[in-house]
């Protein structure tokens, strides 16, 4: 059995699950069981891949499980999958998000469709992370829009239609630039090599081009990924989409789909156009820092919990962008780690917010007060997630933010210095919201709410466990990320930049 079968299974299992969920739609609750079972299989597969991953397969650099089949020569279309230390943890995160979104964000309205869309979304997201071909990546990247759109539009809050449309159009318009950039790059490579049209990542990453071309292509790619991440100032779709989406949708959007943006920036924009970095680095670092400060500032003033997480995500994505663009190995490792950690942390946030919303029927901050009296377990769980997000030593967020800031100080001290303010600001808005929601005296409906049920506690166990384990012992993860980042850095800047 070829090792690439694992990756094919990662793609196909959710598809099969979606089909099965559609077939059993007549019996109530059956599709949910199918969905959870599929998610469990997917999780096992992802963990298996993470354990089996080998970072020095012969002749494949740090890529493992690789295979390539050309599907159409005139189109340059290929099925080309591979996994390295960077995409590995995105795959694990995708599987984890599916499982927890289903377990913690169950939505009984038209359940078969909801489960089906979530499974399809997972398959497409997996495809994006596994693609080792730029056109294939783009196809999966675009495909993720369709299920996300239907999830927001079908199960969202009062303004769901507006939110879904805004989400789709922003991302679609952003990826228009990416699409043209990809086609241009493909033909550039074809004209250079005089061979067949190909979009293979390994072939395109050695395309020779002028500095100007590299800058333009980098910009085209970066626009799409900046919308997706989101990076300030292209973030304006995200607060309404996060807030209006159902719990499962918010988790998918912020924990995984946003990572498609930063992953794309790292893998494709940086990886394919190293020449452009000297020009683009100061610009993107500045945007990242603005995003950190702006996100933190608005998070202080925002009226509801989901928007708060949306703006805090904007700040966190700023840190990730900072790490990707800083040009230091340590910062880049930190960025990849933060992509995973931020995913886990936002799962925690949105699950707890979802549970509270079920009880109180609102996510407005001023409607809630003193919840730690009637719901001490929620308060405790929220505290852990919050402290991880603030970056308390011993919890996962600290390790990644520390690596990013250390690396950035080495190469771009000024930006690193300003970004540090963002760490403080995170403490301000999160502790303040904790004060307003959980402390004080609960009255009226707030005094009546029930504490976390045992099922809700169990759903949050993996989140808390990951936050603590990766805070104390991140070595196994770092060991897998570092060789791939090392290789990318080596490709981008053959000499130096090894701080």
């Amino acid at each position: 059995m070829h090792s690439s079968v694992y990756l094919l299974l990662l793609l196909v299992v959710p598809l099969a699950g979606a089909l099965a969920a559609a077939l059993v739609r007549k019996t109530e609750g059956r599709s949910y069981v199918v969905g959870v079972a599929t998610a469990a299989i997917e999780m096992v597969l992802a963990l298996l891949v993470a354990i089996l991953y080998n970072d020095h397969v012969k002749n494949a650099q740090t890529w493992d499980f690789a295979t390539r089949h050309v599907l159409s020569v005139p189109l340059g279309l290929a099925y080309d999958v591979a996994l390295d230390g960077i995409s590995l943890f995105m795959v694990v995160l995708t599987a984890l998000v599916l499982l927890l979104a289903l377990l913690g964000g169950r939505d009984k309205r038209r359940e078969p469709a909801f489960v089906g869309w979530l499974l399809l979304l997972t398959s497409f997201t997996m495809g994006s992370f596994l693609s080792h071909d730029v056109l294939e990546f783009f196809i999966f990247f675009e495909l993720t829009l369709v299920p996300s759109y239907f999830i927001i539009a079908g199960w969202g809050g009062a303004q769901r239609a507006k939110a879904a449309l805004k989400f789709f159009i922003y991302t679609f318009a952003g990826s228009a630039f990416l699409f043209i950039g990809i086609i241009y790059l493909g033909f550039l490579n074809q004209h250079n090599t005089q061979g067949a049209l190909t979009f293979s990542y390994s072939a395109l990453s050695s395309t020779s081009m002028s500095h100007g071309t590299a800058v333009w292509l980098f910009i085209a790619f970066a626009i799409a990924f900046a919308v997706k991440s989101p990076i300030w100032p292209l973030h304006t779709w995200s607060p309404i989409s996060y807030a209006e989406a159902p719990t499962g949708g918010s988790i998918e959007l912020s924990a995984v789909l946003a990572k498609l943006g930063s992953y794309g920036l790292l893998r494709f924009a940086v990886g394919l156009f190293p020449l452009a970095l000297s020009t683009m680095r100061p610009i993107l670092l500045t945007l990242a820092v603005i995003g950190i400060l702006y996100g933190s500032l608005v998070a202080c003033a925002t009226p509801d919990l989901k928007r708060l997480v949306a703006y805090s995500s904007l700040a966190q994505m700023g840190f990730i962008t900072l790490g990707i663009m800083a040009g230091s190995k340590i910062a880049m490792v930190g960025a990849v780690l933060l992509m995973f950690n931020h995913g886990v942390i936002t799962i925690g946030f949105f699950l707890i917010i979802g549970f509270l919303e079920q009880r109180r029927g609102t996510i407005t901050i001023k409607d809630m007060t003193g919840l730690q009296g009637p719901a001490p377990v929620f308060a405790a769980l929220f505290t852990v997630v919050m402290l991880a997000s603030i970056g308390l030593p011993g919890l996962s967020g600290f390790v990644s933010e520390y690596l990013i800031l250390i690396g950035t100080f080495g190469t771009h001290a000024w930006w690193g210095g300003v970004a540090t303010v963002g760490v403080l600001a995170a403490a301000v808005y999160l502790l303040w919201v904790y004060q307003r929601v959980f402390q004080g005296k609960a009255t009226g409906a707030n005094a009546e709410i029930k504490d976390a049920s045992s099922k809700e506690r169990w759903v949050l166990v993996p989140v808390i466990a990951l936050i603590i384990v990766l805070g104390v012992f991140p070595k196994p993860v770092l060991d897998r990320i570092t060789p791939s980042v090392q290789q990318l850095i080596h490709h981008v800047a053959p000499a130096g930049a090894n701080k």
């Binding site: 599907l71 159409s72 020569v73 005139p74 189109l75 279309l77 196809i139 999966f140 675009e142 495909l143 829009l145 369709v146 759109y149 239907f150 539009a153 079908g154 239609a161 879904a164 449309l165 789709f168 159009i169 679609f172 318009a173 228009a176 630039f177 699409f179 043209i180 086609i183 241009y184 493909g186 033909f187």
Partner: protein, 492 residues
């Protein structure tokens, strides 16, 4: 001196499709004249279906002939038999087949007896067939007129609605102008080059210095205007929303598919084959045309509440994309436009089939509100429409994505990165109204609405459209390769 008329040698296989369609049309006409009241709609549909299938079979033999012996001309070089013409023929025949079935159910619902609809549709399609294999400006003009005259009547076919007659008159007047402009352009080109034959024009322009370039440019521009009118390119599109809205819905489907195939086939031949040497002259004009067509089509559609007007603007936007392949002026470009046409035709016919059904008896329920919750009440029908709309939007896993991809690739390959970007951004604007429609389909506030009756044939046509969309959306290789081969056999 005795003068004799020289009959040119005729390769009958090449003109067999036109003969079949004309024959079927005339046969039906004679039958309904002779055996009055006895030629039922069933007979008419049956004969149309048989004629279409026969043409598809002929196209298969034509393809083998071209593959073995290469492209050739016949009837004094006025008609071409090449890969491009064969694929065009096959697409038109398949479109007629699908449209005839939709028209059949529609005629039954509207209690239209007789074979008139099918006679006119067959005659019009014969014109389209002639256009895709014409190698002479006069033959193109003939095809254009045959195509148009049948359509003028078809548009006004619904005698119960004033808007139908109004649309017919509008289409006739503006179409007449466009034809006049076209033939005037042909005359000027003849004046400049000494021939109306496309190959001769190309040869002349390739080997001579043009003495009066102004004459040639004016002629070329007038030809382009004639085509732009037929494909509804902005700013020659003003007729199309009114005519799409007024015409009986199955006829609108014919206009959006068969007319486009015929007109684009001839346009490609004129610009690429005959005026290929003048690429640098017509490209800037086409650039402006593409930008306007894409952007205006997508933007104006945003404010439409009537789905037929909406689809009119949507098809203007799609025509902009097809023009991209023409703009690129390369073999890749021709192949991409051909691929776009091949995939757009079944999608748009199936879309209008659904619009026909929702329109109800009298063909008047065309507000977008009538689609509220359709996919909730009838998941298959509504789901198919959602897939068809997503394909027109260009979402991956539908064939529309690859259609857009191929034309954009051809454009970028020919150095039109900026143009490609404008076009794809217009698709992002267009996404708004497609998605709004999809969202309406899945709205859950009107679950008690009336069920739409889906007759047998129309149901099959919709299924074919949806299957084509998804099947070739997953597996586009064969169709793309076919389009590419067809273009390799394109007569230079």
């Amino acid at each position: 001196m005795t003068s004799t008329i020289l009959i040119p040698s005729i390769h009958y296989l090449a003109i067999l499709p036109v003969l079949i369609f004309f024959g079927a049309s005339l046969g039906l006409l004679l039958m309904s004249a002779l055996v009055k009241d006895k030629v039922t709609i069933n007979w008419a549909t049956g004969i149309t279906v048989v004629a279409s299938i026969a043409t598809l079979v002929v196209a298969y033999f034509q393809w083998r002939c071209v593959a073995n012996t290469g492209p050739s001309t016949t009837v004094a070089h006025a008609v071409v038999l090449d890969g491009f013409a064969v694929v065009g023929t096959a697409v038109i025949a398949a479109s007629v087949l699908l449209s005839a079935l939709v028209g059949h159910d529609w005629a039954k619902r509207e209690r239209i007896a007789g074979a008139d609809f099918h006679i006119l549709a067959l005659a019009s399609s014969a014109g389209a067939l002639l256009m895709v294999q014409a190698n002479d400006l006069i033959v193109i003009f003939l095809g254009l007129e045959i195509l148009s005259i049948g359509l003028y009547v078809l548009v006004g076919f619904d005698r119960h609605r004033d808007s139908s007659a109004e649309a017919s008159l509008k289409y006739f007047l503006l179409g007449g102008f466009a034809s006049a402009i076209f033939i005037y352009g042909a005359a000027l080109v003849y004046g400049a080059t000494g021939s109306t034959n496309l190959s001769s024009i190309a040869y002349f322009l390739g080997s001579n210095e043009v003495l009066r370039p102004g004459l040639l440019y004016a002629g070329g521009a007038l030809l382009l205007i004639g085509f732009a009118f037929k494909i509804a390119a902005v700013p020659f599109h003003l007729w199309s929303p009114d005519v799409y809205e007024g015409a009986p819905t199955p006829v609108t489907g014919v206009m959006a598919s068969i007319v486009k195939v015929g007109a684009f086939g001839a346009l490609l031949r004129v610009l690429i084959s005959a005026l290929g040497t003048q690429l640098d002259t017509w490209r800037p004009i086409l650039f402006v045309l593409v930008v306007l067509t894409c952007v205006v089509g997508a933007s104006v559609a945003l404010v439409q509440r009537n789905v037929k007007r909406l689809l009119a603007y949507s098809s203007i936007n799609q025509a902009g994309f097809m023009l991209l392949g023409v703009w690129s002026g390369s073999a890749r470009g021709v192949a991409s436009t051909l691929f776009y046409l091949m995939t757009y035709a079944p999608v748009v016919i199936a879309t209008f089939a659904i619009v026909t059904l929702v329109g109800g008896t009298g063909d008047e329920l065309h507000s977008i509100d009538h689609y509220k919750g359709l996919a909730r009440r009838q998941p298959w029908l509504g789901g198919s429409l959602a897939i068809l709309l997503l394909s027109q939007l260009g979402a991956p896993l539908t064939v529309g994505f690859y259609a857009k991809y191929t034309v954009l690739a051809a454009t970028v390959d020919s150095g039109g990165g900026a143009l490609a970007l404008i076009a794809i951004l217009s698709a992002a604007i267009a996404a708004v109204f497609y998605l709004r429609w999809v969202l309406t389909l899945y709205a859950d506030d009107d679950l008690e609405g009336t069920r739409v009756v889906v007759p047998l044939f129309t149901g099959k046509v919709i299924a074919v459209g949806a299957i084509v969309t998804v099947l070739f959306g997953i597996w586009p290789g064969p169709l793309v390769t076919w389009a590419q081969h067809a273009t390799l056999l394109f007569l230079p």
